[in-house]
Symmetry: C2
Subunit: 122 residues, 2 copies
DNA sequence: GGATTGTATTATGACATATCATACACTACT
DNA sequence: AGTAGTGTATGATATGTCATAATACAATCC
């Protein structure tokens, strides 16, 4: 369910983190559901297990997943936080973009039109 | 006229590039105007000349400045492109943010409100 | 000729990313 | 008990980027 973009310059482990977050956010994974094992996901993605391990460790650090030795990793109960976290991130993206746009002399009209186009484009 | 943010995680040489672009875009520097010399700017910013050299080399690669051995670096004639380039960058920022927002289940109404706030803040 | 300019090269260090190879402890299943 | 699969931890190695440092060379200006 998680895919990688080799051409991307964002680190693999970060792409995995975003992938898991996206799956939970889109309702394709639910609390207490088991994630693919470190070795299995590594095999599927054709990468090193340590890279997956790093991604899972980060997710665990954010309390978005929990680990049970000998069993596996599972989506955390409070994973609903992801939605709010993601919204905060998006909020920051718009703030940064809007500031840059204002500094470049763009008006909100242009921005709204731009957003409209992007929103309805596939 | 160019300042650095030590806390920033964007590379110094990139901050210099953005700084020069901003000066030209804000009309504080004009075509054929001389830039501070590699060594002088390095001294002023308290950094290594090679770092400034790298920034200037990149700007030259984009044809935004031109160099004359023994004289110095100057803002290119076609530097007006910077404005369009910057607008394209900003456009990409909004496209990325809008896509992320849509995937997160946000509506254009929320986005517009967000942009409005950010635009009129400070 | 001396000072300043841009340009080029090599070396070094720090850091992040990613791989590879192990090792250990726990769990599940036969 | 044994085997396989799980997470976790730890080193070693390689690569790339960023930044510094130290030179060297050619062109320009006064």
């Amino acid at each position: 369910m998680i895919t990688l973009e080799a051409s991307s310059k964002t680190p693999i482990y970060e792409q995995i983190i975003e992938g898991v977050k996206a799956l939970v956010m889109m309702g394709k994974m639910h609390p207490h559901e088991q994630l693919p094992s470190v070795r299995r996901l590594a095999r599927e993605l054709g990468i090193n297990p340590n890279t997956v391990q790093k991604a899972y460790a980060r997710l665990r650090g954010e309390n978005l997943i929990y680990s049970v030795a000998g069993k596996g990793d599972f989506v955390a109960d409070n994973a609903s936080r992801i939605r709010d976290m993601k919204r905060d991130e998006i909020r920051e993206m718009f703030i940064a973009a809007t500031r840059a746009a204002r500094d470049a002399g763009m008006w909100t009209d242009e921005i709204f039109q731009l957003v409209d186009e992007a929103y309805s484009s596939r």
